[in-house]
Amino acid sequence: MQLSRPARIALRIAAGMGFAVIYVPLALVLVNSFNPDRSASWPPPGWTAHWWSVAWENAGARNALWVSVKAGLGATAIALVLGTLIAFAVARHRFFGRDALSFVVVLPIALPGIVTGIALNSAFGTVLEPLGVGLGLFTVIVGHATFCIVVVFNNVVARLRRTSGTYEEAAMDLGADSFRAFVDVTFPLVRSALFAGALLAFALSFDEIVVTTFTAGPGIETLPIWIFNNMTRPQQAPVVNVVAAVLVLLSVIPIYIAQRLSADTATESRI
């Protein structure tokens, strides 16, 4: 379709405005972390890095960051194992209920978080409490792992579908047993898919707030929960501003890794 010159210019402007809408709020968070004032009125009355040092020493935020990292690592580890197992079963075997299984894997992320949250909350209450186990970091990890399985599964199953089982068969013809074939052939083939899945799972867990609300025990505060609890306290506003800015800056890391990964997968798929 040959677009007229005015149409091209109009599209260019519309897209420019679209990208502005996407990025202005993120930029505002960064700028606002240097705001000396406790209110969010625009324009800020001046510039200061004071709150950055205050935030650095804030025990609550630090502790919450640490809890978030632990929850994310735990959930990612579980999701890696379970997601990979399901991916191998679905991609390399035929069995009754295979489609249903792929559906159930997606369910925890497709249903509203609050439904998953209260379902797990009441289940933990009825099953774990009589055993003397209360809600805590452990239950957060279980909740997060449940909805992280799908991203690992998706990545690994897509890779397994693209690489047929003939490589393993070739390895076995050459005398390798199943384990040897897995370690030397299959694992290297799915490694970058596992890594991409782990990255997504960690990001998903690190960012989650709803399921966390219902599975965290007293005193367990992940970073999103900490931000949510402190957001409406004027006293804490400057520290929340800095933490928010740090999170915006940190999101560059997964983007960079994802770019590197997709470059990797591109070279790999050429083999």
Binding site: M1, Q2, L3, L11, R12, A14, A15, G18, F19, V21, I22, P25, L26, L28, V29, N32, S39, A40, S41, W42, P43, L82, L85, I86, F88, H93, F95, L101, V104, P108, L111, P112, G113, I114, V115, T116, I118, A119, L120, S122, A123, A145, T146, I149, M172, D177, F179, R180, D207, I209, P224, I227, F228, M231, A244, L247, S251, P254, A258, Q259
Partner: protein, 296 residues
């Protein structure tokens, strides 16, 4: 590695490998035991109990759950005006967010897929994806900053003699639109990018003006992708209750009702929780007819 092959053949590891290789059913059950325990027993079990408890009731004096089968909760759900109002409002918000996302996403995707120089396009895709990695809560917080009194929105509208919308229903719709916009841009971008240029040339050769080509050729081919994007925008908006709490002022959506009933009346909360699930499933079924789900 001095062991000869026949010797290695008798090692326990090698025998186990052989056993697993000869018995695919055993291999499959080893693969599936742990995931099924987790997903089918823990997760689906919890969900099933939750939905069964929607048919229980709560003693209004002791707040204790009475485990007697009754449809009172659902009856209350459909007859109480507040509940009906909130359910309709939530569906309305989800639809409004979906329409707004589609309207904003289309020109952006058209630019990134067909107007921008091919050399730039991968970077533009990265630029669309980037906000998805930024924290959900931080993005909502950004809108709280923008919409707060004397904030950026007020400042920008002041020269026009207007005030910003403040916190409330419009703020909720705006923030949700912002949050889920990338989920709409990406599928539309992909569809537009894969559109063969020959089709549009053919349409022009047959005498169609750009407007006609757009309506009769481009739009029908991109619509399944819009539907695919709308699955995300609709269901994510319908289940949300955090955004409303942060920028919604006193606005209540279905998620807030679920949340406020959890402590005192869990069966009612469970009944309320079935509403978004049922609506989302209906929406998915409707979208499946457009072929959207196969392009997800």
């Amino acid at each position: 590695m001095t062991a000869t092959l026949p010797a290695a053949g008798r090692s326990p590891v090698r025998r186990l490998a052989g056993l697993l290789h000869r018995r695919p059913r055993l291999r499959l059950s080893l693969l599936l035991t742990a995931p099924l325990l987790w997903l089918a027993v823990l997760y689906l079990g919890s969900l099933a109990i939750l939905f069964i408890s929607a048919f229980w009731t709560t003693n209004s004096f002791t707040s204790e759950v009475v485990k007697v089968w009754s449809t009172d909760n659902f009856h209350e759900l459909f007859t109480t005006p507040v509940f009906r109002q909130v359910i309709l409002r939530s569906v309305g918000v989800a639809l409004a967010v979906t329409v707004l996302c589609a309207v904003i996403a289309f020109p952006v995707a058209f630019y990134t897929a067909r107007v921008a120089r091919p050399r730039w396009r991968p970077w533009l895709v990265v630029a669309i994806l980037t906000p998805l990695w930024a924290s959900y809560l931080v993005k909502v917080y950004a809108w709280r900053l923008i919409l707060s009194e004397g904030g950026l929105a007020d400042w920008m509208l002041k020269p026009l003699g207007l005030d910003g919308p403040g916190f409330g229903l419009p703020a909720t719709v705006m923030t949700l639109t912002y949050l889920w916009l990338p989920y709409m841009i990406l599928p539309i971008h992909t569809a537009l990018e894969q559109l063969p240029a020959g089709l549009m040339d053919a349409s022009a050769d047959l005498g169609a003006r750009p407007g006609r080509t757009f309506r009769s050729v481009v739009l029908p081919m991109v619509l399944p992708s819009v539907a695919a994007g709308s699955v995300f925008t609709f269901s994510l908006s319908l289940g949300d209750y955090i955004t409303v709490q942060i920028v919604g002022g006193k606005t209540q959506l279905i998620g807030n009702l679920v949340y406020s009933n959890i402590e005192l009346n869990l069966p009612m909360a469970a009944a309320l929780g079935t509403v978004p699930v049922v609506v989302i499933v209906l929406y998915l079924l409707a979208m499946r007819r457009t072929g959207a789900l196969s392009s997800l």
